[in-house]
């Protein structure tokens, strides 16, 4: 029989708050943190809306480590430290080789890239910063988390654009099921409020000028945000043996590839990932009470995701509660799935469905119960969390109450 994998700690930071309790409190309240971007280094960017972390919490990361980190690594370390503390995890010589980290990154550490091309091309500097390579690489957050917490088990970065977090979390589940680790820190991070990244997204013409209104007929696109989310995963046996407080179980994971287009989504891909996830979790569609949608707030995503949900859930599609928490924390790219894990775990624990904020007008193509604007109470036995991405790399997670 395969090992059960449970969640014993969560941590995170994004525009909604500097730790997981603050993020959840804002989600419950249906408060959107999307607003004007304050970063003065954005130069000629037309996009004025985003979801920034206004102030980093006290983190105590030593200067010697800090100087080698891009912002996405620092966010990951802050979230991982919170999750490890929440889990009551003691890491020492006896268990360090049995604890690892898999961290999803959708982009990379771009602040250093930005500084370099401005310094070299505009200011006439002769060389790049010496930490350019180690700061920018997408595996850096995983490395920094392992250094900061002293984790010597499996450690690596995972990347699949907007589904990076879910792939990273699923990969952590695998490490535990395969016996390579007893405990894994897993989640995702990204800090894309940088000129070069926003300029690229601006060119795609998918960014909303006002806010993110998933499933609302008057939606105008997605909004980018920054953040990190992290969870402590461990085998049920390991968690029980150390008397850990179990928050929820990761019941299953499901993947698929669209094999279609680098940006345009399909219905088949998401459908097949959700079906694979239910099968892996041994859950019937009727047992799912909450579905945290990918819900980016683009017409293409919202309508296609709705169609895929209907195919998978049939009549039950109209009975389950759906919401897109991206309406509140925006699309934090590689961090999205991990922030949405916080929403799913807390929905199970508290019996509260976080809403889709900023909703105004019904769209006949998106006619599911998307929990408009206000949270509501509902017992959640099990929840699905969808993550789709450019590249057609779909990853769905199933959580259930323990």
């Amino acid at each position: 029989m395969r090992k059960r994998v449970v969640i014993t700690g969560i941590g995170g930071l994004c525009g909604l708050g500097a730790d997981a309790p603050a993020i959840w409190a804002a989600m419950r309240a249906g408060r959107s943190a999307i607003g004007p971007i304050s970063n003065p280094a954005l130069h000629d960017i037309k996009v004025a809306t985003g979801c920034e972390i206004r102030k980093l919490p006290e983190h105590g990361v030593e200067r010697k480590q800090l100087v080698a980190m891009d912002r996405f690594s620092l966010l990951a370390v802050i979230a991982a430290r919170e999750a490890a503390l929440h889990a009551g995890l003691t890491i020492d010589e006896t268990n360090t080789h049995r604890i690892g980290a898999t961290i999803g990154v959708g982009v990379c550490g771009w602040e250093v890239i930005e500084e370099n091309y401005r310094a070299i091309l505009l200011e006439g500097k002769s060389r790049a910063g010496i930490f350019s390579v180690p700061k920018a690489m997408p595996g850096a957050p995983a490395g920094h988390v392992s250094m900061n917490l002293g984790l010597r088990g499996p450690v690596f970065g995972v990347t699949s654009a907007c589904s990076s977090s879910n792939h990273a979390i699923a990969s952590a589940v695998d490490q535990i099921r395969l016996g390579r680790a007893d405990v894994m820190l897993a989640g995702g991070t990204d800090a894309p409020m940088v000129w070069g990244i926003l300029k690229g997204w601006e060119a795609l013409r998918v960014l909303s000028p006002d806010t993110c209104r998933p499933f609302s007929a008057d939606r105008q696109g997605l909004v980018l945000g920054e953040g990190a989310g992290m969870a402590v995963l461990e085998s049920y046996e390991h968690a029980s043996a150390r008397g850990a407080h179990i928050l929820a179980e990761i019941a299953g994971v499901g993947f698929s590839g669209d094999a279609s287009d680098i940006v345009a989504p399909t219905i088949d891909g998401p459908e097949s990932a959700m079906r694979a996830c239910l099968a892996d979790a041994s859950l019937n569609a009727e047992e799912i009470d909450y579905l945290n949608a990918h819900g980016t707030g683009t017409r293409a995503n919202d309508q296609i995701e709705t169609a895929a949900i209907k195919r998978v859930f049939g009549d039950h599609a109209y009975k389950l509660s759906v919401s897109s928490t991206k309406s509140m924390h925006a699309h934090c790219l590689g961090a999205s799935g991990a922030l949405e894990l916080i929403a799913c775990v807390m929905a199970i624990r508290e019996g509260v469905i976080p809403p889709t904020a900023n909703y105004r007008e019904p769209d006949p193509e998106c006619d599911l119960d998307i929990t408009p604007n206000t949270a509501h109470e509902r017992k959640v036995r099990a929840a699905l969390s969808n993550a789709f991405a450019f590249g057609g790399t779909n990853a769905v997670l199933a959580f259930k109450a323990v």
Binding site: K64, V67, A68, I130
Partner: protein, 84 residues
Amino acid sequence: MADQLATEIIDKIKEHAEAGAEEITVSTELTSLGIHSLELTEIIFDLEEKYGIEIEMNTVDAWANLKNVGDMIEAVRGLIAQKG
């Protein structure tokens, strides 16, 4: 008394050192500065630009053996003298 070159190099190091660290003198051990080894290399590159000296890669390796701030100052002084 530190001369001008020493003062300049110490000031440069100070920009990278932990705030509130002990006073940096010629006898301060490089390892006690709390500066990442790559950052120390970057300080060397900055000195290279500032003083118009060239540090060969094998010279950089040799610099890895420098023990304290004074050793670093004398190495730069040597390269400036060679250039002169």
